[in-house]
């Protein structure tokens, strides 16, 4: 009953005209970003973050979350019509989606992608609403040693699945942790790595690093090749987009499978929507009566991964909103947004800011309905975005990046920094150093250092406090297992497969 009352309060918040507008803007931009290959939700959330600084935090998080889950709806359109995933979570949709388009069934493929996304997206929000409050209550028992162990576990999971080389992912994470130490030390007021730049006294601006490594880095990486692909036409009229009764019957297990797998994979840090969609596709194929037909254009092959990558959003928001631990680059940027708006992500967030948490949950129900409308009758309109030439799109992204960075503090220093970080982001992609652990290291660095220093203050320098408390010990053991696991051949083969899918 309490959940229902809270949800009603959330709907009252989400249905305020301005919040409805932010939700619409978020899901609209999310769909556009999802459709455009080469521009991911993390880059877009980073780009629009500076513009939300003057906004009400509830409106801001509603909009940024809208981009996050909206991108997953849009990604399928490009996979089906162009055989190029609009974003990494839609890679597996290409397998059967593009084959369906080749067989003249692009309409039902787009239709089932939108419907399964809607069903699973909604299930994901229901599960988020049910799971998050008890997790937050449980996390109230955590002290600094448990937080340190939890962050170590979260970072190790992200490192495990961030790229082909775990060593490179670890280096990327440690560089992020180092960047987090730049500025004034909160315990002693001493300067660290500021090089006498006043601009670095408050630390490296997170927005600058996120925009540089993600938005500008992605644009530069996309300049390497300027060729496009052949696109199928979208059938006109809603009737031609609707799957028939048999299609829906064939997809019914895929809806359930994708919704549940997506959510539970989403809760795990580092796993993400790409892995959720692959696992769900694999399960669907394994239980199918005709597994040999997968890859030739079966509708369940579109429904299962699309359901999973949308349900994953609800799962990924659980550790973010209840523990303050992000599991991916996009949720790391959302965490930074909460900190910038003056909130303290963690177990008290739901208690201290119920209007934000329940407003966000309610807005996700509304956003999913908006996305269903945007992605069914309006998909032919959105598909036209794919005709936007790269020579128009990329300069626009660079322009928004510069405006976003400059508008934070009106400092030219930040523009120079973002330029160099953009090159760094490109080089990291080029030599396969994943940028996600760097961003996570930067966001969690301060919190992690505080947790370890507070723990050692509590124990008067006795390191055993970090592993002698049961919860912390369990999490540290898991961290060690995650880090040494890839030394075993079978684990490493599995890890490489998962990481390749996520790239």
């Amino acid at each position: 009953m309490e959940i229902l009352a809270n949800l009603m309060h959330g709907f009252a918040v989400a249905l305020e005209p301005m919040n409805l507008l932010w939700c619409f803007i978020g899901v609209f931009f999310g769909t556009v970003v999802g459709i455009l290959p080469g521009l991911g939700p993390s880059a877009t959330v980073a780009l629009l973050l500076p513009l939300t600084m003057q906004m009400n935090p509830t409106g801001g998080i509603i909009m940024l979350a809208g981009i996050y889950y909206g991108a997953k709806y849009g990604g399928s359109t490009t996979s089906i019509l162009l055989n190029v995933p609009g974003e990494s979570a839609s890679v597996v949709t290409c397998l059967d989606g593009f084959e369906m388009a080749k067989n003249g069934r692009a309409g039902p493929a787009l239709g089932i992608a939108a419907i399964s996304s809607f069903v699973a997206g909604t299930v994901g929000v229901v599960l988020l609403m049910l799971v998050a409050p008890p997790v937050a209550e449980f996390a109230l028992r955590f002290g600094p040693p448990e937080y340190f162990a939890l962050m170590a576990l979260g970072l190790s999971m992200v490192v495990l699945l961030a790229g082909k080389s775990m060593i490179k992912a670890l280096i990327s994470m440690f560089v992020g942790l180092w960047l987090a130490t730049i500025g004034i030390d909160m315990f002693t007021d001493g300067e660290r790595y500021t090089f006498d730049y006043i601009e670095l006294m408050d630390g490296v601006n997170f927005v600058v690093v996120a925009i540089g490594t993600f938005a500008i880095g992605e644009v530069l990486a996309n300049l390497v090749s300027t060729t496009g692909g052949q696109m199928f036409e979208v059938p006109k009229g809603l009737r031609n987009l609707m799957p028939n009764w048999q299609d829906l019957k064939d997809s019914r297990f895929a809806f359930v499978n994708g919704s549940l797998i997506g959510f539970f994979v989403g809760v795990l840090p580092g796993a993400g929507s790409t892995i959720a969609s692959f696992v769900s596709y694999g399960v669907e194929k394994a239980v199918s009566k005709h597994p040999e037909k997968f890859g030739t254009g079966v509708i369940e092959g579109v429904a299962a991964p699309e359901a999973a990558n949308n349900s994953e959003t609800g799962g990924a928001l659980v550790p973010l909103l209840t523990l303050g631990i992000p599991g991916s680059a996009t949720t790391a940027i959302l965490l930074a947004a909460l900190i910038i708006w003056g909130m303290r992500p963690g177990p008290l967030l739901i208690q201290d800011h119920p209007e934000m948490f329940w407003g966000l949950v309610a807005s996700m129900y509304i956003g999913n309905v908006m996305l269903l409308v945007l992605n069914l009758p309006l998909v032919p309109v959105f598909a036209q975005i794919l005709r936007l030439p790269a020579y128009v799109l990329y300069p626009l992204i660079l322009g928004v990046s510069m405006i976003g960075v400059y508008s934070v503090d009106q400092r030219l220093f930040d523009c120079w920094l973002v330029g160099f970080l953009g090159l760094l982001g490109y080089l990291m992609r080029k030599i396969e150093y994943p940028p996600a652990p760097l961003i996570l290291g930067l966001v969690l660095g301060d919190l992690m250092e505080n947790a370890v220093r507070q723990s050692l203050m509590m124990s008067k320098g006795d390191v055993s406090i970090l592993y002698s408390r049961p919860l912390a010990a369990v999490m540290l053991v898991l961290t060690v297992l995650v880090l040494i696991g890839p030394m075993f051949r079978r684990v490493d083969i599995w890890r490489l497969r998962a990481a390749e899918q996520d790239v």
Binding site: K168, M402, I403, L412, I431
Partner: protein, 157 residues
């Protein structure tokens, strides 16, 4: 000689640079107190970060050499693609350098023209149309409508 020739130089340079970063982090951390009367000092966390970066980057160098001995030559570089990236990035840095003296609108117009003409090989007219509409559109949207403060040149925009 054969091993050296088939080494992936960019990987090796990156790993060596990272060792340098690790040494830099460590050297500075060395100057700050590791432990204080209250607990860990400001040097505690960066010191361990520096050590980890050095150790991991050194491991990468070793693995790079071993991998090269076992696997042979590396794939060729796409120089045309690298040239486009460098062109785009140089345009961006020029735009940043001109932000203060010329203002956002003019410097962004220049960036768009460089990208469209030099990187995407389009005509001057296409570049001009995209550049003028993008910079004017941004100016109206961000400066006039959203009241975002952007650097203004001698012409007031």
């Amino acid at each position: 000689m054969g091993v050296w020739r088939s080494l992936n130089k960019s990987e090796l340079v990156a790993a060596l640079l990272l060792i340098g970063v690790g040494v830099f982090v460590l050297m500075h951390a060395w100057d700050w107190p590791y432990l204080t009367a209250d607990g860990p000092g400001p040097g505690f966390f960066p010191l361990w970060i520096g050590i980890c970066i050095i150790a991991l980057a050194a491991l990468l160098v070793v693995l790079q050499v071993v991998h090269t001995i076992n696997q042979g030559a590396v794939s060729a570089t796409n120089w045309a693609g690298a040239g486009r990236v460098l062109g785009g990035w140089s345009g961006l840095m020029l735009c940043i350098a001109l932000l203060q003296p010329a203002g956002f609108v003019v410097s962004f117009l220049l960036l768009v023209m460089i990208l469209v003409m030099a990187v995407f090989r389009r005509t001057f007219l296409s570049a001009l149309i995209v550049g003028v509409s993008a910079s004017a559109g941004f100016w109206v949207l961000f400066v006039k409508l959203l009241r975002v403060q952007l650097p203004a040149g001698p012409w007031g925009f």
